[in-house]
Amino acid sequence: MKLARGPLPRWAEILLLPLINIALAFLVVGIIVRIIGVDPFHALDRLVLGAVGSPESIGYTLYYATNFIFTGLAVAVAFHGGLFNIGGEGQAYIGGLGCGLAILALDRYLPGWLMAPIAIAAAALFGAAWAAVPAWLQAWRGSHIVITTIMFNFVASALMVYLLVNVLIAPGSMTPQSRNFEPSGELPALPGSALNLSILLALACCVLMWLFLWHTRWGYALRAMGHNPEAAHYAGTDLKRMTLLGMCLSGALAGFVGVNELMGVHHRIVLDFPAGYGFAGIAVALMGRNHPVGVVLAALLFGALQQGGAELAFDEPRITREMVVVIQGLVILFSGALEHLPRPWLAVLLPRRG
């Protein structure tokens, strides 16, 4: 009760607080790096250069950011409806399955310009369907969505292993992966990096989500439900159907990770391609304040950390791959779980006018 928990000025809320959180995270990272015996400034230098030092590294940063945008938006849109979708990982996996199945079925018959929209739609459909089941279970049967979406991640993982080992495996192959897609099933990519056209899809999703949330009556109803379900019910919104809608949109967005990974990079269905992007999406959405613009900025940061971290681990043997995960974890910790840590101090420093 000593420190006022008053609201901060808007600019501090949107810009200053996330920046302070990142700075705090890097401070702690610096201390850890120092303890290992590496010069923190050298490490920071390697990290930044690794992320944005060359056209190739920028390409990789943007490619990673694409995945983070999809999963960040997925978490954000559900969150606007008061739904905590922890199942981005599974939805991305199953979305990729849908995308891959569509391509495996049709890539020999259709040209690329027709194949791509069908594959993208399939990814959205499968991702949405995988999210729809937990949504239905919550809305009509009362199982909590956090629990069911987590469990569905495991189900998705097991299902994919089964399918790739037993059903989709390329004939004569020893590794559990499908046959390669024909060229019509590939998205054009920047030579020398993994960056592909999916990033345009990601940016389009940002614009569409902004339009949907703030400029349509369905987005309005979804946000009303998220802030105050009782008022939304009073306003005539069918909360069950709105829960289903919100989760389906969320699942479809997560499913697009499959487009970026399979159509853009691997060009076949592989195991474990969501690689934690679904979970990182929670941090991206939190850090981006659930706003599309914020999600893009946070996704860029996470993409840069992913790419720069890989370069750093490559360059500096004492900093292992695991250390890079620790760095990412600290950023998530400070901008997610400890998000409000500096708030009381800021509130004292920046008394709100008016």
């Binding site: 000593k2 009303a224 306003a235 069918d238």
Partner: protein, 507 residues
Amino acid sequence: MTAPPAIELSSIAKSFGAVRAVRGVSLRIESGTIAGIIGENGAGKSTLMSILFGLYHADGGEIHIGGVPVRMESPHDAIAHGIGMVHQHFMLIDSFTVLENLVLGVEGGFLLSDGMARTRAEVERLSGEYGLSVNLDARVSDLSVGEQQRVEILKVLLRGARILILDEPSAVLTPQETDRLFLVLAALRERGVTVILITHKLREIMAATDRVFVMRQGELVAERRTAETDPHELAELMVGRKVRLQIDKTPTHAGSVMLRAEHLRLVDGRGVPLLDDVDLELRAGEIVAIAGVAGNGQTELLQVLAGMRAPTSGSLTICERTFDAHRPGDPAGRRAIGLAHVPEDRLRQGLVAPFQAAETSILGYQDEPRFNPRYFLDRPAIARHCRDLMERFDVRPRLPRLRSSQFSGGNQQKLVLAREMAQEPRVLLVGQPTRGVDIGAIEFIHRELVKARDRGCAVLVVSVELDEVLSLADRVLVMFGGKIVGEVEPAGTDERRLGLMMAGASE
């Protein structure tokens, strides 16, 4: 005049941002008296009391308790100085017994039984002294609201309070229970306890207090001996201008039946009937009020009528449409046939706090073509609509883009009322029309309701304010235990008789 005053506040000031909630208030309350503090919403009375109780820290000024200057850093300090506060919403654990609730926080020692025995002895002494009888071994959930309030008072006294602050204590009580509360307060006064009563009910100020302090816009504008003032003067002081406490209205010309409920029943998950065989008729051009103590089914009745909850059985005809347990309809469908609903708990159900005022101003009407020319919401049109509502219902500040939560309570209420009443509905359901709005606005809201009635709208008002029920309604129905237990003509009905019906006593 030898004893120092129980409380002396000098030049207390408190600002929230640019809002000066309390501006240099100084007052003295003599020991062993009952002081009333009245004022409109936002007049600063709750803020002032929160400062006294240590919930807020004053920007300036001094507090003396019993002549000694003190610093109130937290409620802990206030309790240590013998100040206790009974909140409007009780802070009791329903599944605990009364004794368990009383012991909570003062268990003392390792074994619970020691504290229990000590507390039991202490409570028995106190309850004998002050007439605060309660069954210590009853579960709180089995107690009536009046009894729960007595438990709250006991809790405060047990912690050694010599100064008792009561925040709107009668909001949930029947007139009889309120009288009983005032007897307890009088007994406390006899024993030298100082009582501060925060209320907006003038009648209670007149009935219970020795002195009354009137606050307006953060300032103490008047102090009167209760015996030397009258409700009209106090109302005028509160608002700063003359207020008519009576509503002018012509006799009703009730038309055709717009809403009819037959054998309406609603049973909750545990099989407890919330609505029990409710029959109800509401005609165009009349105001029917439902009186009753909060929690006797009025809330549920409104919810069923508004389509927010399906009845368990019975049928409902609204504007020639029939609904029943199998086809309960929904709130959107009700709006489509011309029913508007101002929910009782407007802040929880009627608006979405983080939404802009403009967004709140279309809540429930967001699907209408006038706000959706094609696929997208027409934001400029919505802002115009909101500004228009704000003009007509005097919502301040007139900023459609401001977040709903940043308006004062009274203005949030007015925004919701404006939204529903501006639809010119055929049937208007209003829960607690003047809860949380100030006297000036009450006058306005009542006038608007009468205007709607005169336009031919069928108006159903649910209210726990008897004054309001009696002055506003053309017919009054009384609810008790989920049933409608009687109908009275507002003219020539006195509050005592109504009070007995509300308490479930047969006529």
